[in-house]
Symmetry: C2
Subunit: 626 residues, 2 copies
């Protein structure tokens, strides 16, 4: 069996037009592997602190990983990273779909984009070659038109396109990057960074097979994975209902985010749930490269509201953010809103949170229709919600205010608006209420990217000896910890599962597939693909390294313990579901945060990684010079 | 495949004579697994701080592990643990041989001995039953006679006997526990604790097979291990020359401890090396339960000096401690000294260090023959060395002074003797010089049991991409670090390898076998034997837990950062070998120690484990109450 890993990174300077290929040493690949960690490696090594996130000095990275592109399900995600224009902190978002594997098959593990083009361009990568091409014809076009024009221009319908949309061009601070019109690197505004560089798209096409150290073993793992998925109830449900399957369980537990986190239950939940979607507007289930789960939705709506299947369909996050969170129970309208976000290239979570924020300000009398360009932004006003999406994307009128994100918008509006701005570090909260699954309070508060739901598994899945716990046992999570518990046991569970999910963020692994496939099998897959004699231990350490590198990036950008907080509203008691009263006390949160810092090998008082723990992780190059 | 692990612990109170069986919850087994960690679990849970190590309140534990007794090589070691009479700290020593597996086959994972018997007794365990029996007939007898008498009395020659010897009866502070007359739980004076309880021996006989969750997989692993060992150069050399194979490489590198660490080369090294032993006095190679390596020596000497094969033969540590360290180049005499230690039940390392200490005091004029009962304790005086072994074991005259260990002896002698007492935390230094393999400075200084060479692999083995490094790669040690380097990279290597070896100390795994067998295979063995869905990650965490628990025990006993030090002599330059000058600076040591604390998730300034890291390890029950 051959050992060793050789990969290539493409470096593109849009200011000078220079394109070059780099071959990192194997130890770099083995230490950082890809995605989040390999991105922060470059940002920490090469980028000085304090650059304007929307200026030419901010580097934008597209990173797959050492295992991406192998013919195995669940290894599809890739990362887009840069300093975030939304948070000023580490910006990073993963997306599934097909772009990551295509980039690998085109010969590159990643692309580092530097500088800013004088005019709109796109990057064309084909089988080891790259070219910067004029994009003036597609600038301003929605994502669907742009993708079509690129494929036509290059004469290949199998080209995979990752692009920012018009919202990215307009530097909406939570503009996303989208591939295949429906797989979004959603969060932290990576689309705005792309837009700021006048880089509208990266088009990739690869006809090379990704080399495998042990193809027989890869095949064997693939068979085993397929068998396990076919036995997994969760995988079956995901195929049937997609992530919207979570609407009703959360509603029933009383933690379906409703009306800007004022409530945990929504009277219209059944109208927007996964079962309803499957009954009514679902055209088919779809999936990512090489995956049998097919959890993605493709929906069609044709009536007052419209949505076409090529833009996919709303995930749970979108159903909640544009639905219950805005008090809207119209699934067709939500589907249209989802399509609009995918056309414009907007993060559906931040969009929904921004709109609901404005709706609560209207409810509280802080804003009136005068402030909102005459749009009647009451909770539940479907047309107002859809209208605002367009205005945000185009930065029109009040849309220009909300395009800055709730933190900046609240500051601009004043009059106590900040109280209603649901964000951490400037990033809008995802559609999960930490009061009812309290591990999320750590997830949200400490995530280097700001409030994030892909930092660690949400702890309801650990309440019983369910698949998530079963999968996590060999990674040291041995006992279920009640969702409503804070303190030492929760910290133990969180730090372990955070390491798991962060290794996923660096390896490009799907969080769903790997609740059904054992983590040890993932380590075997890494070994079979790369030829490295590796183990789950190494992957767990990669996860910790991923978290710690992002924190070091943030410290360099001036963030500190003060930025690990919960919005005030989350200290209010949430009343719904069982138990009836859900509450996180300030004391519990402060104590648990301190335990978390210590558990990570960070100073318990300041949250600063110790020089010793940096050494442990092979990150001694990040020890500040004295 | 059945899952779950059921085991039994035998609890024996020698004061009351009560014997009872306990069945710990599975989570206790999974968290602590056996050996060191399971022992400190009981000591921390049940024993209050500050008990007299030689009083009835000190509990004495004999612990195998969840994998001991399986028909696989390298899983043979078991632990004896208690508060140490030598250090006042965590006392623990592992031994190979046959006793651990026999205890398992007799139905028990471990024995907790409490109280003190009014008269000499031994414990007889046979197939799930236990009985306290009179030992007056064997009290005072050497180990060989005692073993013979017990086997005769019980009428079974296959009984395995773990015992303290006459030295333990006399509470020599570094008396050991010995099984099969030659496998010693050598360090920290566990034999003295046994003697203080009037417990001369535990005799075990088991005819039950240890249950295996997946016998086919166990068999498959066994075959694979055998194949790997047959290809391993190190295993072949160990079979041929035993651990004495290390004499000449250390001599050539200039780090063979000589004359109380005054030198790193010994003019008589060739006369006492492994090759010489194999040529001259070796009768046969022997091994532990189920092992094909056969690294143990069985020697015969008949002339002026005598040694018989049933007491085995000297390991490297003994050859150095009674040889070069005392300036003695007579292999036959060393073999006799080794046999004497095994007959009396004395730790050969501490014995040699105590005698050489006295020899240097004589050299420096601090002691004269008047102080040493007329024995001429000059370096190189073979007969003086042998005479002192007997006097120490019997606590006769000056032997009674040295029987207290170098720390206490130096205090008693005064006149600046402490400068020559080579110990850390009261335990005598093993036969490896940290100045030439500097990772050992961390090993020695921070080992919870005092200076110890089984805390982490000695870093010469990592200089090249050799078997030890290859084995450690999946555990996160990816690059060789020069032996003479301190600082971040050394800390990274040390903390990882310390976790590996400490997981061995809890699982009862042989450090030699598992340089040839991959660590991932060990995790598979644990899974196949116990039925747990586990991984190398879990074993690495067990290793960290093992270290941290012992530190928590020590903190409770009043130890702190001040006890993590090097003897002054080790800051002197050692001149020999290549490089010619070997030196650890105080500054390097202090900085590296601080990095180590941080790397472990301990306070970098105080070395106290943070509450967060205790939580991470599932040790929140050890967070001090406020």
């Amino acid at each position: 069996m051959p050992t060793g890993y050789n990969g290539k990174i493409l470096r593109v300077n849009l200011t000078s037009g220079a394109i070059r290929e780099e071959t990192p040493e194997e130890i770099v690949y083995r230490t950082y592997m890809g995605g989040s960690a390999l991105s922060s490696y470059y940002l920490l090594k090469e980028q000085k602190a304090g650059v304007d996130p929307l200026g030419p000095e901010n580097k934008l990275l597209f990173m797959s990983s050492v295992i991406s592109g192998a013919p195995l399900m669940g290894l599809t995600r890739y990362t887009v990273a840069a300093r975030s224009p939304l948070t000023g902190a580490f910006g990073e978002a993963e997306a599934g779909g097909f772009f990551g594997p295509e980039l690998k098959m085109a010969g590159f593990d990643g692309v580092i984009v530097e500088g800013r083009s004088a005019k709109p361009v796109y990057l064309w990568i084909k089988d080891g070659r790259a070219e910067i091409r004029d994009a003036s014809k597609i600038w301003g076009k929605d994502t669907g038109e742009a993708e079509k024009l690129i494929r036509e221009e290059l004469g290949d319908n199998r080209i995979r396109v990752a692009q920012c949309g018009p919202a990215g061009e307009k530097r909406v601070r939570y503009a996303c990057v989208v591939n295949e019109l429906k797989h979004a690197n959603g969060r932290t505004g990576m689309g705005a960074v792309m837009g700021s560089k006048n880089l509208r798209a990266i088009a990739a096409r690869g006809t090379q097979r990704v080399p495998l150290a042990n193809p027989e073993k890869v095949q064997e793992i693939g068979k085993k994975a397929l068998e396990l998925l076919s036995q997994s109830g969760m995988a079956q449900n995901l195929k049937k209902f997609g992530t919207p399957m979570f609407v009703m369980p959360l509603q029933n537990s009383g933690i379906l985010p409703t009306r800007n986190f004022q409530k945990g239950q929504f009277e219209g939940a059944e109208a927007i749930c996964g079962e309803k979607m499957t009954e009514t507007i679902l055209v088919k289930s779809e999936g990512c490269y090489a995956c049998a789960v097919q959890c993605k939705r493709s929906v069609k709506v044709d009536g007052k509201y419209k949505a076409s299947p090529e833009y996919g369909g709303p995930e749970y996050e979108t159903i909640a953010s544009l639905g219950s969170y805005c008090g809207i129970d119209n699934l067709a309208a939500i589907a249209q809103g989802n399509e609009m976000c995918n056309r414009y290239g907007l993060d559906t979570i931040s969009v929904g949170v921004c709109i609901a924020f404005a709706m609560e300000l209207v409810e509280k009398g802080i804003l009136t229709a005068k402030d909102t360009d005459g749009i009647d932004l009451r909770f539940g006003n479907t047309d107002a919600m859809l209208a605002m999406i367009g205005k945000i994307a185009r930065r029109e009128g009040f849309g220009d205010v909300l395009a800055e994100g709730v933190q900046r918008a609240a500051r601009k509006i004043g009059k106590g608006a900040e109280k209603y701005a649901m964000h951490i570090k400037g990033q809008e909260l995802p559609m999960h209420d930490p009061r009812g699954k309290q591990g999320l309070s750590l997830s949200y508060a400490t995530s280097p990217t700001g409030a994030d739901h892909i930092e660690a598994p949400h702890d309801t899945s650990f309440l019983t000896d369910g698949p998530a716990l079963k999968a996590a046992k060999p990674a040291g999570v041995m006992e279920p910890v009640p969702a409503m518990e804070m303190g030492p046991r929760k910290v133990r569970q969180f730090v372990h599962t955070q390491a798991i999910w962060n290794s996923f963020n660096s390896l490009g692994v799907c969080n769903f597939a790997y609740t059904a496939i054992p983590l040890v099998t993932l380590a075997e897959a890494v070994e079979a693909i790369t030829g490295w004699n590796t183990s789950l231990y190494e992957l767990m350490e990669l996860g910790e390294r991923t978290v710690t590198m992002a924190r070091m990036f943030n410290m360099r950008e001036g963030l500190s313990k003060k930025d690990d907080y919960l919005p005030e509203r989350l200290y209010e008691t949430l009343e719904a579901g069982t138990p009836r009263e859900k509450k996180i006390t300030r004391e519990d949160f402060a104590n648990t945060l301190k335990l978390y810092y210590g558990a990570m090998g960070w100073d318990p008082e300041t949250g600063v990684p110790t020089e010793g723990r940096l050494s442990f992780l092979g990150l001694d190059w990040l020890i500040p010079k004295k």
